[in-house]
């Protein structure tokens, strides 16, 4: 859900775009981060912990804590809380530490 009315703020969301999350189509806006767009779509589980496979979501939302690492357009360890959304982005849950492509 997005905030439609706010007593102080107005939001310039930019353009509406479509991206995929684990293959599922999701809509968002270009001024949003990937994490914000996923959150607005009700998606909070962004990955799983490496050892105990526990669900993981964001924690700090300012690029500090690494809790939101995902694979974006094939690149692993992307902090989706500080990465702006682009049309056609492929956002996927990351397996383990991810593999950096040569």
């Amino acid at each position: 859900m997005r905030i439609e009315q706010h007593p102080i703020l107005q939001f310039d969301r930019g353009e509406k775009v479509t991206f995929t999350f684990n293959g599922q189509k999701v809509e968002g806006y270009t001024s949003e981060t990937i994490a914000a767009a996923l959150h607005a779509a009700g998606i909070r589980e962004l990955g799983h912990s490496q050892n105990l496979n526990r669900p993981r979501g964001l924690f700090c939302a300012i690029g500090n804590c690494s809790s939101c690492f995902m694979t974006v357009d094939g690149e692993p360890n992307v902090r989706v809380c500080v990465t702006k959304l682009k049309d056609g982005m492929v956002v996927e849950e990351q397996e383990g530490k991810g593999v950096v492509q040569a």
Binding site: I3, H6, L9, R44, E45, C60, C81
Partner: protein, 366 residues
């Protein structure tokens, strides 16, 4: 290639913006490095009005103060602002390395002011890793920057200023705030913020904590319980509170990694909320030419961060020989403002911390 820089400011929050502006205003050339894609730091999400006096823009909302400072800095011909730029390392030979657009850049600044701010603290309880358990700052970013409704129903942990303010901001965003829990016997933040919540019918439970969280794949609720005078959980007082979000506002800790790496003399000072570089009266650390201003040298309000930034910026200008007499007066004016900001009962903790800093200066060689 190593690029020479006169003054490098690391971090574009309230301290960094004011540091850059002060150094430049006296005549120095500044490179301001910001990790995010826009400068402003956490001011970009602070919709509440600031306290202090006119010189610290009291009465203005943080977000507008941030916009004004950013405008001043970006329009200043002596300041270069580099965004999406993360400082990776500070080396013994004075080289600072930066990650920008997947490039590894090298700089050699004459003076450096570290204004890296702070990170949110975490709290220990079973299932504290469930998606939906967020830092209060994260929730503030989601709703005030992203325009996303962060929760349907939230429990806030912490009745300091951040917990109170963010709870109120969530009401403004249409979120049902179930309650604020605070382990201490008293509300830590300004009572004016607490009163706004209470008028809206949000209970503030002092002497309470989170016993555990539960949920399948994401947060579905928390069990709250009461604490005794020794901060131990009292069996039988448990209350089940369904919620989809738990917000942690349990304090901040300085992001002082770069100061560690640069070899600054560091001390753990509880009142300053973590390990901090020991600084002298000009906010210079034990490393010659390396300064620290704002939350990185002790957690405080943004108002003090702005004044500390200004102090360090002018002090750097003096050390470089720019407009020395006037810049020195600005340094002294900033010191006096800080004394005033820290003078009330809310400043007791920071004053105690700064006494400890002063005691360590001999050891640190500051």
């Amino acid at each position: 290639m190593i690029r020479n820089v006169e003054v490098m400011v690391i971090g574009g929050g309230p301290a960094g913006l004011c540091a850059a502006r002060a150094a430049s205003e006296a005549g120095a050339h500044v490179l301001l490095l910001e990790r995010d894609d826009v400068p402003g730091g956490q001011l970009v999400k602070q919709t509440h009005k600031f306290f202090g006096s006119e010189r610290q823009y009291a009465g203005d909302r943080g977000i507008f103060i941030g916009q004004m400072l950013v405008k001043e800095v970006t329009e200043d011909p002596r300041i270069e602002v580099m965004t999406d730029a993360t400082v990776l390392g500070m080396y013994e030979d004075g080289v600072v390395t930066v990650l920008k657009d997947n490039q590894h850049l090298k700089f050699r600044p004459k003076k450096t002011i570290v204004c890296t701010g702070a990170a949110e603290k975490f709290l220990t309880f079973p299932n504290n890793d469930l998606p939906g358990i967020y830092g209060a700052g994260a929730v503030q970013t989601l709703m005030n920057v992203g325009g996303v409704k962060p929760a349907d129903r939230v429990v806030m942990v912490g009745a300091g200023n951040i917990g109170l303010i963010v709870s109120y901001q969530m009401l403004q965003a249409g979120v049902d705030v179930a309650c604020v829990v605070e382990a201490a016997p008293n509300i830590g933040g300004f009572l004016v913020h607490a009163a706004k919540l209470r008028r809206a019918g949000v209970p503030i439970r002092t002497g309470w904590t989170v016993k555990e969280a539960y949920g399948n794949g994401k947060l579905e609720g928390v069990i709250l319980c009461q604490l005794d005078e020794k901060w131990q959980q009292i069996p039988g007082t448990e209350v089940d509170c369904p919620c989809d979000t738990l917000c942690l506002a349990v304090g901040l800790t300085p992001l002082s990694e770069l100061c560690w790496q640069a070899g600054c003399h560091m001390e753990f000072i509880r009142e300053l909320s973590g390990h901090v570089p020991i600084t002298d009266e000009n906010l210079m650390t034990s490393v010659e030419g390396l300064y620290a201003a704002g939350d990185v040298s002790g957690i405080e309000e943004a108002s003090s961060a702005m004044v500390e930034g200004r102090l360090a910026g002018y002090a750097v200008a003096v050390s470089l020989g720019y407009d020395v007499e006037r810049a020195q007066k600005e340094v002294e004016a900033a010191r006096a403002e800080l004394v005033e900001l820290r003078s009330g009962p809310m400043g007791g903790k920071i004053r105690a911390g700064l006494v400890k800093v002063a005691e360590k200066r001999g050891e640190a060689g500051c």
